[in-house]
Every structure is written in C-alpha cells, then in structure tokens.
C-alpha cells in the first residue's frame, strides 16, 4: 500500500519536473536570459584575441582591471575558456540551450497555429459579427444580382476571392489572404535549427586544412593544426601561380593558381577541363573538397625555371626555360644570354642603386649577361613588369616568369554541412519575408436586404499591420458606396 502511494507520488513528481523543464524551455524568459548570456560572453570573446598570444591578451585584461590584478584575472578567464570561448563547453552548451528553447517554444505553439492554418475561413455567426472590433456599415441601392456582383468584383479588386453563403435572406461573403503567412515565424525558427544542424554536420564530418603547393609539385594530403596530414583521396598538382598587380603599384589585383586534379596519376576532367584556374572568391571543388586561394609565397630553388620569350630583329620568336646559370640564344643571332642574378622585387634607391624591397615576387627581375663568341657584349636587368627593360640591341627578351619558385597557399575544406547551412539561410530569408511582409487578412461582408436596398456590414481582421488593413476595408466601403451613387 505504502509503496504504491510512493510510486504514485514519485511519478507525479517526476512528471512535474519534466513539465517544469518543458515549460522552462518554452518560456520567453529563458530566451531573454540565453540571448543576454550569449551576447555578453561574446563581447568578452571579441575583446580577447581568440587562441591568441597570451602576452597580448594579458595587456588587454590589464586595461580593464589594472596591471596588478591582470595576471589573476587573465588566469581566471583563461581557465574559464574565454581565450577560445567559441569552442568552450559552456558556450556550446548555451547554443544548444538556445536551440532547445526555440524548438520547444515553437512546438508549444505550432499545433494551434497549424489548426488555424488548416482551417479555411468560415461564415461568421450573428454574435461574432456584433463583437468584431472593426466594422463599417453602408447602404447600397438595389438588392439584386448586380449588388452581389458588385461586392464580389470589389473584393476581387482588393485581391480577395470570395465565397458566398446564404441563409435566411442574409448573404455573407467571406474571403481571406495569406493564411499560410502565419507559418513564417515558424519557418524562421526552424531555419535557425537547420543552420545549427548544418554547422554540427560540418564540424563532425568535415575538416579545415591548408596546403602550400610549389609550382610543379603534387600532393595527396593537406595539413591541419601543427602539420597533421589529412589524405585528400586524390592528388592535386599546382601547374602555375601568378599574381597580377594594379598598374605599377604593389596592390595585388588577383592571385591565380592553375591546378590539376589527378587520380592514379591521371588528370581528371572536371567540367570538361583538365586544368582549373582558381582565384580568391573562385574556388575549385572536387569530391566534396574545396580549394580556396588564400595566400602565396616565394621559395626559389635549384630547379626553378626562368622563362623567356626571345624575339630577334627578324621578328622570329622563341621561348626558352632554363635553370640558373644556363644560357639561351636570341633567334637569328649568335648572342647568348646567361642568367647571372635574380631579384624577386627590385627597386631603385635614391643613389640609383638597385635593391630588393620585398620577399615575394612583386617585381621580379633577372640580370642577364649577353655574350657573343665567348666575349661579354653587354649586361642588363630585365624586369618582368617593365617592357622597356626587355629591349636589347639585338632584339627583345621578355622575362615571363620564374617558374617553380612560388607556392600557392590553399585553404582546403571539406564541409558536408554547408549545403544544409545554405538551405537554412534560404528558409530563413523566406521565413522572414513572410513574417514581416505578409499577413493573414480576413474579410467578411454581410448583406441584408432592406426595402429593395441592401445594408452591408464590412468587417475583418488581420494578423499584422492593422492600419493598412483598415485602410483596405475603408477603400472597399468607398468603392461599394460609390457604385450605388453612380
């Protein structure tokens, strides 16, 4: 006996705890608290550099609490995970709480709204007509088919397709617009959950890595963290890398890599092409892995090739690729050029001396010694970006590139959740549009015959933007009363 009551009490208690949690999760109060907590902690997260240099962060903390208290305060913040807070368990927990809040809150209300949405508009009862908060009454001449047609056409003009019902000599028209717009809010809430799911899928099944690939080299892996390898499942080759600059400046206009995907050593056709040019904002995608152009660098070596295009006086031209110290011949002559020096970024200082001003190939130049039959004829700096320096007494020599000396810095990402996130964004945009710019409007017009004329009661309600809606009813009333005087 005793035991039974115990069980009963226990279960009722349990139920009430579940209930309490449920109603807590459904409450807007929780939403307010979670909004505030996420925002306030995020502010701290923007002040401290995330995964940043502890020294720097210590200085930031010192600005707020003073130098003496800073080490302790910093240690406390660090211990609480604020130096990498967007990955801290409590922040992730807050995000989950936020998601649970939206889900439960929406589930609580959805059944009622769904019922409303499923149920088309119906005729109003006499009592309801009397209690509608907003109504207009007008008299219209005539009480025949023309009046009915007039009402229907006036409604149509406002975009309503009316249903007509008749009982006891009273005609009622009713029509509605945007019944489904009541779901806009729920679409918006749902979209947040979808974006969450997408983000989680991405974190669980994707990776974010990087790969520096020297021109002419191939890799089957990318790297993340401190050099941990991730197999790509195929190979990637960098055929070429180039930076374009705005006119004479050092502001880069674009960086481009030419990439080839290889499977079993064989180039793969993607969109019918073997090599692909990628640049910032234009990545390459293959088998769920996306390669983004993110940086570049300069690493010359013994195998780097100087590429020249030589044109002789006779107009004949010839291309040549050679290593440092090797020679080429200007077509139609016996003049030989040998690369004697190289600068990735050459400039002239005040005293007319040449110097290298940058570590990347901003303004590459080669110093070429030209000789004829073993005798030095002349020497010249040839700049890739300055065509005037290509001109020689015996023709022109264009310095096209130092190939195999630059590497392209690629961000390598696999994120199977990104499609879900995009779908969520799309639903959110749609949901917000519906929630803010559409409304569920309902109109009833009750027509009673009175001595050959008709008395019209126009009433209705709108889920949003009451003023505009009342304006609409006003317009309807005017259109109908104008009819009668005409």
């Amino acid at each position: 006996m005793l035991k039974e009551t115990d069980v009963a009490e226990n279960s009722s208690q349990k139920l009430s705890i579940v209930d309490r949690i449920w109603s807590g999760l459904a409450s807007i109060k929780l939403a307010v608290i979670v909004f505030a907590l996420i925002s306030l902690t995020s502010i701290v997260g923007t002040l401290l550099e995330q995964k940043g240099d502890p020294e720097k962060n210590l200085k930031v903390v010192a600005k707020f609490v003073g130098t003496s208290a800073a080490p302790k305060a910093f240690a406390l913040l660090d211990g609480l995970g604020f130096t990498d807070m967007y990955h801290a368990w409590w922040f992730i927990g807050l995000l989950y709480l936020f998601a649970a809040n939206i889900i439960v809150c929406s589930l609580e209300r959805l059944p009622n709204v769904w019922k409303l949405v499923r149920q088309p508009i119906q005729a109003l009862s006499q009592d309801r007509i009397a209690t509608m908060p907003f109504r207009r009454e007008i008299m219209v001449k005539g009480n025949g088919d023309e009046t009915i047609a007039a009402v229907e056409s006036a409604l149509r003009k406002e975009g309503f397709r009316a249903v007509r019902a008749e009982s006891d000599g009273v005609v009622q028209f009713f029509a509605e617009q945007g019944r489904y717009s009541r779901l806009g809010v729920y679409m918006t809430h749902l979209s947040i959950i979808i974006i969450f799911v997408g983000a989680i899928v991405g974190m669980k099944y994707g990776f974010n890595a990087h790969l520096n690939l020297l021109e002419g080299t191939t890799s089957a892996v990318a790297y993340f963290g401190e050099g941990k390898e991730i197999p790509l499942g195929f190979e990637l080759r960098c055929d070429d890398f180039n930076v374009d600059f705005y006119n004479k400046s050092d502001t880069p206009k674009s960086f481009k890599s030419r990439l080839t995907v290889l499977e079993n050593g064989q180039p793969v056709l993607i969109n019918g092409k073997e090599t692909h040019e990628i640049e910032v904002n234009r990545p390459l995608r293959y088998k769920g892995v996306t390669f983004y152009q993110s940086s570049y660098g300069f690493a010359p070596n013994r195998d780097s090739l100087f590429k020249f295009l030589m044109t002789g006086k006779n107009g004949k031209n010839e291309a040549s690729s050679l290593k440092f110290g090797e020679s080429f011949t200007i077509p139609g002559t016996s003049v030989m050029g040998t690369v004697a020096d190289f600068s990735p970024a050459i400039a002239v200082d005040e005293s007319n001396r040449l110097f290298t001003y940058a570590e990347s190939m901003n303004n590459p130049a080669v110093f070429v010694e030209f000789s004829e039959q073993g005798k030095l004829k002349y020497r010249q700096w040839i700049l890739k970006r300055v065509p005037e320096t290509w001109v020689l007494p015996d023709g022109t020599v264009e310095f096209q590139d130092l190939w195999g000396a630059q590497y392209t810095g690629l961000q390598v990402r696999k994120d199977p959740g990104v499609g879900i996130v995009y779908a969520g964004c799309f639903i959110m945009a749609l949901g917000l549009y519906i929630a803010f710019f559409m409304s569920h409007a309902r109109i009833w017009i009750i027509l009673r015959g009175e001595r050959g004329n008709a008395r019209l009661i126009i009433t209705g309600s709108s889920s949003k933007n009451r003023i505009a809606f009342e304006g609409k009813i006003e317009r309807l009333a005017q259109a109908l009363s104008a009819k009668d005087s005409a």
């Binding site: 909004f35 925002s39 997260g45 705005y246 206009k253 910032v280 390598v412 990402r413 996130v421 803010f436």
Partner: protein, 363 residues
C-alpha cells in the same frame, strides 16, 4: 565631371534643407515645407549622381567589372552611402506619413556628416580592391548592411525622441528620464569629442590615412597628457549632467517637431521591422556566403561577425519583447536605443578598437 562636385552640391542642399525644415517648424507655412522637400530631393538626386559617378571612376581605375566596383570600400565611402540611405528613408517617411517635422532632425545629421567628411579630410582616394573584396556577395552584403544600419539609425532617433517626450522631466530619477538623458548625452558628447579630434588633427596636419586608427579620441580621452584625459572625462560627465539637468530644453525642442508619441513608437517599430530582415539577409547571410567563397568559412567568430550577431540578438529581443510580452513605450524604446549602440559598435567600434578580417574602416 567628377563626383566631388555633386557631393559638394548635395552637402549644401542638405544644409539648406535643414534651415528650411527648421523655418518650417517655426512658421508652419506649406510653401516653406515644400521648398524644404524640394531642396532635399535635389540634394538626394545630386547625391545619387555623385555616388554613381564615383562608382564609375572606381570601375575605370580598378579596371574591373562594373558590378565589382561598388564604392563602399572605406570609411569615406561608407559614410556617404549611409547618409544616402537615411535621406532615402526620411523621404519615404515624409511621403508616407505626410509629416515634415522629422526632416528638421534628419537633414542636420545628413548635413553634419557630409560636412564632417569634407572638413576631416578622410581619405577620398580611390584604392583598388584587393582580391578578397572583389565579390558580388560582398557588394550585396555591404549595401544591405548599410540600408539596415540606416533603418536602425532612424529607429534610434525616434526612440530617443519618444523617450524624451514621454519621460517626465520633473522626475529626474526615473529610469526612462535617466536612460534617455544619459544615452543622448553620451552620444552627443562622443560626436563632439570626434569633432575635436578632427579639428586638432586638421591643425596638426598629418596624413589622413591613419586618422581613425591613430587619432580617434586622441584629442580627448586618449590624449598623451593625463591632465587632458582627466579633463575630457570631467567634461564628459559635466556634459551628461547638463543634459540630465536641463533635459526639458531638449524635450521642448523635440516637441517642436509635433510628432506624437504613438507615431514615434510605431516609426521605431517599422524601421526595425524593415531593418531586421534586411540586416539578417544582407548583413548575416550574404556576409556568410561571401566569407564562405573567399575564405572557405561561412562563420569564423571574428569580432565583426560576432558583433553583428550581438546586434541581431538585440533586435530579435526587441521584436519578441514587443510581440510576445507586449512591451510598448519606454521599455521598447530603450531596447531600440541599445540596439543602435550595438549597431554603431559593429560598424565603427570593431574597426577602430578591435581587429578583424574586414578591410573597410581601416581606411
């Protein structure tokens, strides 16, 4: 023709319009009101023309596709676009509400910002875009963000006006009175402090490039001399105190606009109801898509993104408080004010005080 001529014309127009709107408030003659509107529209057209010309100049210099060359790459350009948006917003309100009083509030702001740009010498040079910024998504992102910011700015103005009108100036200890006087006082004081920076900066005559990063509040709160810093804070406190003590003067000025509290409350809501979806789509979604295309991450919690999210939360809070809790009046106006403070921080503060991936604002 160059864009600065038309920018000059529109600055002058806005300042003239400001005079007309104020005259209209005083004399209440329809003709003056009409003239004010015509001048504003003229300024707006000239402004639009100037913006398009700058766009073209930018496209020519950069040698890029026209769609890529939206002139919204630095503080100068973004302020100009911001003014364009608030004027557009204002003209719509004037037309919809058939009320010109608000013009006396908006045109001075527009005129001031334009003059401020001119005097301060914020860099007007056209810098070509580095590759990461050459994106149509970025274009949509920046344009829509500023449209939303403009909506939020107007909601801030109406919310402050609402609070000033509805708070009882005899009860200086009541929270609505404290709230509006302090936030309005701080807001004005910061604008004044910035004006000081610009003046002293002009006198020092250093290069304009690094102004924002290196000079902001250097004439006041961040001065090298401790005395000036202390004085600045004292002046700030005194200024806020004065606004608090003599709030009724401001209130009287605002009552002159003859906007009733209900209209202001509704305007605040309307501006946010438009700003919020635009900000969500343009500011957050398009921003994420751009980051995804350019960097391979749609969300990386950098300070700019995080502050956008905070701003978004504040306005989401505004909407829910209004819809579900039925907040109206003082409380909801206070949320709108906080929302705009967060907006300003997203727009300027992050660039000034924190670091991030984003380039604009770095000048």
């Amino acid at each position: 023709m160059d864009s600065s001529l038309f920018f000059g014309l529109s600055s002058i127009a806005y300042i003239l319009a400001m005079i007309c709107y104020i005259a209209y408030l005083v004399f209440r003659t329809q003709t003056i009101g009409l003239i004010a509107t015509i001048i504003t529209v003229f300024g707006f057209v000239s402004h639009t023309l100037a913006f398009s010309l700058r766009w073209k100049e930018f496209a020519d210099i950069g040698g890029m596709g026209f769609m890529r060359a939206v002139p919204l790459t630095n503080l100068y350009e973004s302020l100009i676009f911001f003014v364009w948006c608030i004027i557009l917003g204002y003209l719509i309100i004037e037309w919809k509400y058939k009320n010109r009083s608000f013009g006396a509030f908006i045109t001075p702001i527009a005129g001031m910002i334009m003059a401020f740009i001119d005097v301060s010498g914020i860099s007007k040079d056209i810098h070509p875009l580095i590759p990461a910024l050459q994106s149509n998504w970025l274009l949509a992102h920046v344009t829509m963000s500023f449209l939303a910011y403009a909506g939020f700015a107007i909601s801030f103005a109406t919310a402050i006006m609402y609070l000033a009108l509805s708070a009882d100036e005899k009860q200086r200890a009541s929270w609505p009175y404290l709230f509006w006087t302090i936030s309005f006082g701080l807001f004005s004081a910061i604008l004044i402090a910035m004006a000081f920076d610009f003046i002293s900066f002009k006198i020092i005559g250093r290069g304009a490039e690094s102004f924002i990063k290196n000079y902001l509040f250097k004439a006041s709160f961040r001065n090298a001399s401790g005395v000036i810093v202390a004085l600045s804070y004292a002046a700030l406190a005194a200024f806020v105190f004065l606004v608090w003590r003599f709030g009724y003067v401001v209130k009287r000025a605002i009552s002159a606009f003859s906007l009733d509290a209900d209209t202001l409350d509704e305007l605040t809501y309307k501006c946010i109801a438009i700003g919020f979806p635009v900000f969500t789509l343009g500011g957050l979604i398009f921003g994420a898509i751009w980051a995804d295309q350019a960097w391979g991450r749609y969300w990386s919690w950098d300070p700019k993104e995080t502050w956008s999210l905070i701003t978004w939360f504040v306005y989401a809070f505004f909407l829910h408080a209004r819809h579900m809790r039925g907040w109206r009046g003082d409380k909801i106006a206070a949320v709108a004010v906080i929302g705009f403070i967060s907006t300003i921080f997203t727009y300027l503060g992050v660039n000034l005080l924190l670091s991030g991936l984003h380039s604009y604002g770095g000048l």
